[in-house]
C-alpha cells in the first residue's frame, strides 16, 4: 500500500472529535473563571483607587489561583474536560509557567527551573509583544502620529 493511500485510510478511520461537547465544557468552565475574575474585580474596586489598580489586583489573584491549582495537581485534570476554557484565561498562563517550573526544578534552580520556566509560555510573551507592537504601529500610522 502506498503512503498516500494509507494516509487516506487513516483519515477515514480516525475517531470523531467531540467538538460540541468540548466547546460546551470550554464555554462554561471558561465563563466560570471569568465570572470569578469579575467578582474579584468588583471586590478590588471597593478598596483600590483606580480601575487599573483594581485590574492589577484581579490579575494577580487569578494568577495565584492558577498557580495553586497547578501545584495541587488539579489544573491539568480540569483541562482534560475543559480544554481551551482553562487554557485561554490568565489562570492558564499561570499554569504553563508553574507546570514548567515544577518539571524543570529537578534539573536545579538555575539551568533547570530558571532557564526552562517559560518553555511553554515564552511564545505567548514573544508574539504578544510583537503583535502589540504591530497594532500600535498601525494605530500610529492611521492616526497620523508620525
Amino acid at each position: 500500500m502506498q503512503p498516500k493511500e494509507y494516509q487516506q485510510l487513516v483519515q477515514e478511520n480516525l475517531p470523531p472529535r467531540p467538538i460540541v461537547k468540548n466547546m460546551l465544557w470550554a464555554f462554561f468552565v471558561g465563563g466560570l473563571i471569568c465570572a470569578l475574575g469579575q467578582v474579584v474585580l468588583t471586590i478590588a474596586q471597593s478598596f483600590e483607587r483606580t480601575k487599573n489598580e483594581a485590574a492589577a489586583v484581579t490579575l494577580a489573584a487569578m494568577i495565584l489561583l492558577g498557580t495553586i491549582l497547578t501545584a495541587l495537581g488539579v489544573y491539568d485534570e480540569i483541562a482534560e474536560k475543559a480544554g481551551a476554557g482553562v487554557a485561554v484565561p490568565i489562570t492558564g498562563f499561570a499554569n504553563t509557567v508553574t507546570s514548567a517550573a515544577i518539571d524543570f526544578r529537578r534539573e536545579g534552580f538555575l539551568l533547570g527551573m530558571g532557564a526552562k520556566m517559560f518553555v511553554i509560555a515564552g511564545p505567548v510573551i514573544v508574539y504578544g509583544i510583537l503583535s502589540g507592537f504591530i497594532v500600535a504601529l498601525i494605530k500610529s500610522l492611521v492616526l497620523g502620529l508620525f
Binding site: 500500500m1 494516509q7 480516525l14 475517531p15 491539568d76 474536560k81 492558564g92 504553563t96 507546570s99 511553554i120
Partner: protein
C-alpha cells in the same frame, strides 16, 4: 544448516527459554484489568525518589534483582545484560547497568525494545555465546511525558488517539534451563514509514510496521494467524489496533480473533487512558505477565509477540519529519 528461514525469520532449534522473569507496574496499571498478571504493583509512582528518572532506574534495578533472585542466579553467572528504555541516550538502562558487573548491550527500539532484547538474547544463546542472558526494559509516565510531550501539570486536553506511557519495568533471564516457554522464532522488522506526522496518533503510524512484520513472519514460517493461540501486538492502542485489522482484512488474512493488543488492554475502559498504554515497559509487562501466565497455565500453547515502536523524537516532530516505525515478532511456545 541455516538458522534463518524465508527472508528474515530466525529459528532457534536449541530452544532458549524465558526461564524466569519479574514484572512491576505503577498504581494506575495496578488498577487495570491485568493487575493479577503482574508480580508487583507499586504503591506509588515515586518509590521515594526525588525524580521520576531516578524512579525509572530503580524500577529497572528492582526488576533485574528480583529476576536474579527468582532464578537463584548470581549476576556473575550471567554473560550479557541487554536493556533499553525511552529516555535520551537510554540513560535509565545505562545507569542501572552501571551497578552490574556484566557486559552490557544498550538498545533502543522505543516501545519495541523488549522484543528486540528478547530476540537478541535468544540469538546469543543459540549461537552458544552465552548460557544465561538477562534482559530488561523500563518506562515511566512522567519521564516520557516530559521528554516527548509537555510538562506533567500542563493544561492539555488529550485526544482519543493519545497514548499513556506505562509506568513499570520488567526483566527476564533467558537460558537453557528446563522451564518456561521456548523462544522458537524471531522476525526482526524493518523500519516502515507511511509518512504520518501526528505524534498524537502513534497507533496509526505503527500499524503498518506491525502489519509488515506479521506478514513477513507468516510468509517465512508458512504459518497462519490461527497457528497461534494468541498474537499480542505491543502497544498499537485502540486506533492502531483498528488500522492493523483493516490492513490485514484488506489482504485477506484470517484468524483476526487471535489478535490482542497490550496497549489497548493494559488499562480498563473505566480508566482515562486515551488510545491505551505505550512505553518500553508496556509490551514487556504484558508479555512477561499476561502472555507467560497464559502459556505457563496451558491456556495458550503458542503465542506471537509483535512489539511495535514509533521511532520519533521531540525534535524530529517539531522539524516536520514523519514517524518511522518498527515492529519485531517473537514466537513463544509452551
Amino acid at each position: 544448516m541455516s538458522k534463518r528461514i524465508g527472508q528474515r525469520t530466525l529459528t532457534f532449534s536449541r530452544a532458549p527459554r524465558i526461564t524466569s522473569s519479574y514484572t512491576l507496574v505503577g498504581p494506575r496499571e495496578g488498577k487495570g484489568p491485568h493487575a493479577l498478571d503482574f508480580d508487583e504493583i507499586l504503591p506509588d509512582d515515586t518509590l521515594g525518589q526525588k525524580t521520576a528518572e531516578k524512579t525509572e532506574r530503580l524500577m529497572l534495578e528492582l526488576a533485574i534483582t528480583k529476576t536474579l533472585e527468582q532464578h537463584d542466579t548470581a549476576i556473575e553467572d550471567v554473560q550479557f545484560l541487554i536493556a533499553g528504555d525511552l529516555l535520551n541516550q537510554i540513560t535509565t538502562s545505562c545507569l542501572a547497568a552501571s551497578t552490574y558487573p556484566v557486559p552490557f548491550l544498550g538498545i533502543y527500539g522505543a516501545c519495541s525494545t523488549f522484543a528486540q532484547a528478547l530476540g537478541l538474547g535468544a540469538v546469543l544463546l543459540e549461537g552458544d555465546f552465552a548460557q544465561q542472558v538477562l534482559i530488561g526494559t523500563a518506562s515511566h509516565y512522567q519521564t516520557a511525558e516530559r521528554q516527548f510531550r509537555y510538562p506533567i501539570e500542563l493544561n492539555v486536553q488529550h485526544l482519543q488517539t493519545n497514548h499513556v506511557t506505562v509506568t513499570g519495568a520488567a526483566a527476564a533471564i533467558l537460558s537453557f534451563a528446563d522451564r518456561g516457554p521456548r523462544i522458537t522464532h524471531a522476525t526482526f522488522g524493518q523500519v516502515v514509514d507511511m509518512g504520518l506526522k501526528d505524534p498524537h496518533d502513534m497507533g496509526s503510524a505503527m500499524a503498518p510496521a506491525a502489519f509488515h512484520t506479521i506478514k513477513a513472519h507468516l510468509a517465512d514460517t508458512g504459518r497462519s494467524l490461527q497457528d497461534y493461540d494468541l498474537v499480542l501486538t505491543g502497544d498499537l492502542g485502540k486506533q492502531g489496533r483498528k488500522m492493523l485489522r483493516l490492513l490485514l482484512e484488506r489482504e485477506g488474512f484470517e484468524g483476526l480473533e487471535r489478535l490482542q493488543d497490550g496497549g489497548s488492554q493494559i488499562f480498563g475502559d473505566w480508566q482515562p487512558g486515551g488510545a491505551g498504554g505505550s512505553g518500553a515497559a508496556c509490551v514487556a509487562v504484558m508479555t512477561l505477565g499476561y502472555v507467560l501466565n497464559r502459556l505457563n497455565s496451558a491456556k495458550a500453547r503458542r503465542a506471537l509477540i509483535v512489539a511495535t515502536g514509533a521511532l520519533l523524537s521531540a525534535l524530529t516532530v517539531l522539524q516536520g519529519e514523519s514517524i518511522p516505525c518498527i515492529a519485531h515478532a517473537i514466537a513463544l511456545e509452551q
